[in-house]
């Protein structure tokens, strides 16, 4: 973010000069107002600029690769956006006067049965980290800038070959995940405590905030879709609902301990979908499996001799969680990209011409705010959809024979 501060100062100076000219020549007062607005908006819009592009601008002294030198001083929206969307080994907070301010997260890798753990600061800008294994041999790790393992920790073999170790580093997403999980647990334990203390009295404070959602999940999602067994699945549905909505909303807050793109990460959504998948299939009653392999209401020749329907049903079982994972991931990622895109537009145009940047900033800003609001809605809707579909699958799994 601080990178933007710097950039902002630079752009501001440019604009102020231009503004002076404009005022001096008295050519257009409107332009002047637009630029003033632009500057104000910059100050207001700073939260959205947190996702700084640290690669291109300020590494000149340190980064010697050609790739970066060619882009020196140029604004690259794609890099900025992907820097935010993707995972990384350190949590870049902002850039201030050319210096990065970031949290160096621990790298934890397993290789050849040994655990290596070190700070990611050793690997900045393509540096290699050299340590020793239990046999006393040198073990070299680095993060390559390009190639197959771009941006990932790899081990450099003695012959220069790169191998990917078993990597369970605490990355930015993992760190954000821990933070949001801790918050989630703390909040819900507080709410539970509130219930324990206040008993059957009316809810208060955070309890009152959570309660309508809990009741909503229970009465509008779990009960109608699962039926009488809903209580068995309710804790999972509630956990999933709050986990997703919580991470979605935290992902929209652009300041440091939040803003990690957690639900926009395919691994996270895949895990959630896998949980749903396993719960569905581990609690599935006989009737559920019977329906899969001997689908009722289908002509016999679709099942025998070629078991078409069973194949479709079985594939469906596996497609469902995949769709579940991709839907959530794609929605959240798309939202983040759109917001960032609108913000980047200002800088792209600003680089070409200060006036164009100024002019577009107002529109861009309004659109970004609009999309931000939309994302709040999406944060809720996606949590709802994920929970709803999970409950539908559970409902199918929990259905008894006679209920058909």
């Amino acid at each position: 973010m601080l990178f933007f501060f710097v950039k902002l100062r630079f752009i501001k100076k440019k604009y102020i000069n231009e503004m002076k000219n404009i005022v001096l020549f008295g050519k257009s007062i409107h332009k002047c107002i637009v630029i003033a607005l632009f500057i104000i908006c910059f100050v207001l819009k700073l939260p959205n600029l947190v996702l700084a592009n640290n690669e291109n601008h300020n590494h000149d002294a340190e980064c010697l690769t050609e790739e970066i030198e060619t882009e020196k001083g140029k604004f690259n929206a794609g890099d900025l956006i992907f820097d935010h969307i993707l995972d990384s080994y350190d949590w870049h907070i902002c850039t201030w006067k050319g210096k990065h301010i970031s949290v160096n997260l621990p790298i934890i890798v397993f290789d050849e049965g040994e655990l290596y753990s070190f700070s990611s600061k050793h690997l900045h800008h393509g540096h290699e980290y050299v340590t020793q294994n239990k046999h006393g041999d040198d073990v070299i790790f680095k993060i390559p800038n390009h190639g197959k393992f771009e941006g990932k920790v790899v081990r450099v073999g003695s012959d220069g070959a790169l191998t990917r170790p078993f990597d369970i580093s605490i990355t930015k997403t993992v760190c954000g995940l821990f933070i949001s999980c801790t918050l989630l647990v703390v909040i819900f334990l507080l709410v539970a405590k509130g219930y324990r203390q206040r008993g059957e009295k009316a809810p208060k404070g955070i309890q009152a905030l959570i309660e309508p959602l809990v009741i909503y999940v229970r009465d509008e999602i779990a009960k109608p879709n699962i039926g009488k067994d809903y209580e068995k699945y309710l804790p999972y549905l509630l956990t999933v609902f709050f986990f997703i909505i919580f991470n979605n909303i935290l992902g929209l807050i652009p300041f440091f301990p939040f803003g990690a793109n957690i639900t926009g990460n395919i691994a996270v959504t895949a895990t959630l979908a896998l949980f749903t998948f396993f719960i569905t299939h581990l609690t599935g009653k006989r009737h559920y499996y019977k329906d899969i392999f001997n689908t009722p209401g289908v002509p016999w020749w679709l099942k025998f001799p070629l078991p078409l329907m069973p194949i479709v049903e079985v594939v469906g079982c596996f497609v469902k969680p995949v769709v579940l994972a991709i839907r959530l991931f794609a929605n959240i990622t798309a939202g983040h990209i759109v917001i960032l895109g609108f913000v980047c537009l200002i800088f792209i145009l600003g680089e070409m011409s200060a006036a164009a940047g100024g002019a577009v900033s107002v529109v861009s800003l309004l659109l970004a705010i609009f999309v931000d609001c939309l994302e709040l809605l999406v944060a809720y809707i996606q949590a709802y959809v994920f929970t709803l579909l999970s409950s539908l699958y559970f409902g199918a799994a929990a259905k008894e024979e006679h209920e058909h």
Binding site: F188, V214, T239
Partner: protein, 167 residues
């Protein structure tokens, strides 16, 4: 490509973190919350039912009250009627008695008056007779100075007495 390839380390941490969160919440938070919500709902339902019951009871009570009131009013009317009747009757009897008494008193007064009158008449008669006799004596003393007249007079008187007696 990295965007859509799940990272193994992240899968691992996510499973762990979500598993722990799920475990803690499912064990310590949601049962309490759901139980309490259920209890509260029951409580509210009970309270509503109770309110409804109380309301009905109130209505019943009110109806009872009205009935009682109506009965009481009827009773009152009856009592009032009876009282009026008794009152009328009492007045009637009192009037009758008073009339009787009055008549009796009048009667006795009349009798007394009659008696008194009789007594007075008798006395007046007697006095008149006395006075008459005295007057007569004087008159007679003066008139009956001749014998003939005396005789005539005596005869006249006798005749009168005789007439009177014959009557």
């Amino acid at each position: 490509m990295e965007l859509i390839t799940p990272d193994f380390g992240l899968l691992f941490w996510m499973t762990l973190a979500f598993g722990i969160v799920f475990f803690i919440l499912a064990k310590f938070a949601f049962p309490v919350i759901n139980d309490m919500l259920k209890k509260r709902e029951e409580e509210i339902n009970n309270a509503l039912e109770k309110a409804e019951r109380t309301h009905q009871e109130m209505e019943k009570l009110q109806a009872d009250n009205e009935l009682l009131l109506a009965q009481a009013r009827e009773e009152r009317d009856k009592i009032l009627n009876e009282a009026r009747q008794i009152h009328d009757k009492f007045i009637e009897t009192a009037k009758n008695k008073a009339n009787e008494e009055k008549e009796r008193i009048i009667e006795s007064a009349k009798e007394t008056i009659e008696n008194e009158k009789m007594a007075a008449t008798t006395e007046i008669k007697n006095q008149i007779a006395g006075i008459s006799i005295k007057v007569a004596e004087k008159i007679i003393k003066k008139q009956l100075e001749s014998d003939k007249e005396q005789l005539d007079y005596i005869n006249r008187i006798l005749e009168d007495i005789e007439n009177q007696n014959q009557k």
